[in-house]
Symmetry: C2
Subunit: 335 residues, 2 copies
């Protein structure tokens, strides 16, 4: 294990000089810098992370809390996590992976131990237990998601209200009057996950404005659950011609069932999904969809955090504008 002192000796300078070469916090003559850099390379020196953290009280680590459950949005979570990790690296940070399992304790542990300089939280509930801790914490944090009370917090999320509105608007514009919403699993609503409720909000308010009748049904993923839900939908509203699907794992089952019932997409029934683009283009019908900008969210979260760590940037709620891409699953309502 090569140390700073050894590099200094090898280069014939003092330890502090080597440190300043590394950090760039004081000016160093070109010749000295080169000599030091040469020694670093020759000896294969890597600064010790612990020592650095201790001396500078900066760990250069960002903690990322991911939800423990894998009952929803797995690809989205993964994409966000990877975007966070790669973006963090470009700013010289590493990422610590925490699962939601520990809950508030994890926040205490991280803020108390100086393990991480900052935190990113995913899957935030409307009234999350962790929020008070974050407000008091010395370390900055960013939420991916939107809780009920955002004072003193910074959040990044898709504007799900606008997303809901956009979906209805699209279908209304095509002449659909009866629209069914296939929502997330009931459990998601029960734990008051913000995005699900906000989407519903957007759907409903725009439906009112455009004179669309809305039927909202939560739905577990999978074929069987979707079959039951779909039967109920057509039972209650036989004239349904439009679908908005928020549950990723209900999309393909829905398409299969519609096909099976002889309802053509998009001739008889239009489907709009809220899902990552990748899912939309891989489906058996290329789906008209509002994409979930997972990478963008991860990237933005890290950049906000880095700004805060550098003393720039203040608390702020960033809602990304939804974009609807028309593909092959939606068309004019049959009339």
């Amino acid at each position: 294990m090569v140390t700073l002192a050894e590099v200094a000796q090898h280069a014939g300078v003092s330890a502090s000089t080597v440190s300043y070469v590394l950090s760039g916090k004081r000016s160093i003559s070109a010749t000295t810098r080169q000599r030091v850099e040469q020694s670093i390379r020759e000896l294969g020196y890597h600064p010790n992370a612990g020592a650095r953290a201790l001396a500078s009280s900066r760990s250069n680590i960002i903690a990322l809390m991911v939800p423990l459950r894998t009952d929803m949005y797995v690809p989205v979570m993964m994409e966000i996590a990877i975007a966070v990790a790669t973006t963090a690296r470009t700013h010289g940070y590493d990422v610590l992976l925490l699962t939601g399992e520990e809950g508030p304790d994890a926040v205490r542990r991280v803020t108390g131990s100086g393990l991480a300089d900052a935190m990113i939280l995913m899957d935030v509930e409307l009234d999350d237990e962790r929020l008070p801790l974050l407000r008091e914490a010395a370390q900055p944090s960013v939420l991916i998601g939107l809780p009920a009370d955002t004072t003193g917090l910074t959040c990044v999320d898709l504007d799900f209200r606008a997303t809901g509105a956009l979906c209805v608007e699209h279908l209304a514009g095509l002449g659909h009057r009866d629209v069914a919403v296939i929502g997330e699993a009931p459990a998601v609503y029960e734990r008051h996950t913000g995005f699900a409720e906000r989407t519903l909000d957007g759907l409903r308010s725009r439906a009112r404005e455009t004179d669309v009748r809305l039927l909202h049904r939560p739905c577990e993923g999978g074929y069987d659950a979707m079959a039951v839900t779909l039967a109920r939908v057509f039972d209650e509203r036989p004239g349904t011609t439009g679908f908005v699907v928020q549950n990723e794992s209900a999309v393909e089952p829905l398409l299969a069932l519609l096909r099976q019932q002889g309802r053509a997409v998009p001739e008889d029934v239009s489907v709009v999904a809220i899902c990552p683009d990748q899912v939309a283009v891989q489906a058996s019908v290329r789906l008209t969809s509002v994409s979930i900008p997972a990478q963008e969210m991860g990237r933005r979260a890290v950049e906000h955090l880095v700004a805060k760590l550098d003393g720039r940037g203040a608390d702020e709620v960033v809602l990304l504008a939804p974009e609807l891409t028309v593909r092959a699953s939606s068309g004019p309502a049959a009339s």
Copy 2:
């Protein structure tokens, strides 16, 4: 920020005593221990991670390298990652998330800086550039996956060879004579990912033994790619009655296409998938499948690592035995 010294003062003991209470490395009288623990609680003390790492040269962090690409097995990767994180926590370790992006440099950075005490690598290629570094590293490591040369390494993986054999065996036992294998995307084979080749190996050798004719076709995920592939299969082997699918994102498209062509599953055609159980039961036909024990793999990897860190346990290759669950997608060959 409360320090050890402050706790010591508050409890009326020396710093080292507090340290020994925390670590349990020396015996402490019950009364002293209680007094110290009381002070820790009252002051809300959390040991500083950096200081600890520096003094003990142990960071209590395990690095996890996940593949950057999300072109395959996303749910599996996610499940492994979460299993690693939760298992690590039960042993007092945190997990650092690294993406494959940096490649060998990431290994150097981690081993050089003492950032982590150990590493877990996913998505290992047959002849991975990172392997030589791992063999030399002071820190122990575990691979999830199986490279060509495993000397000096410890690996955990599903026995994909046996998995392939098991799939063929099941279909052969049902009387199928012409079996098509829908493989991973061509890129996966090109980069010599071990599991894909080993599966193929197992499929082929058992096919030879059971007198089954095999047709292997790599396939990008998605509906369109599957349609092209399927057309080719029936073109070349019209008598095909069995399918083994390794590419998760080809499963649902395959089922949809078969249905569309009027081929009933499992009456006309049997399908066996290699995928997580969750995917198998959520499909439009409940799939006969060999499950990928993602959680188990993550757990085993961590436990091996912890054993090594404790001075127990040696290098070893652990191949988990595959298990085939018969569901509704396979049945006797029509004859």
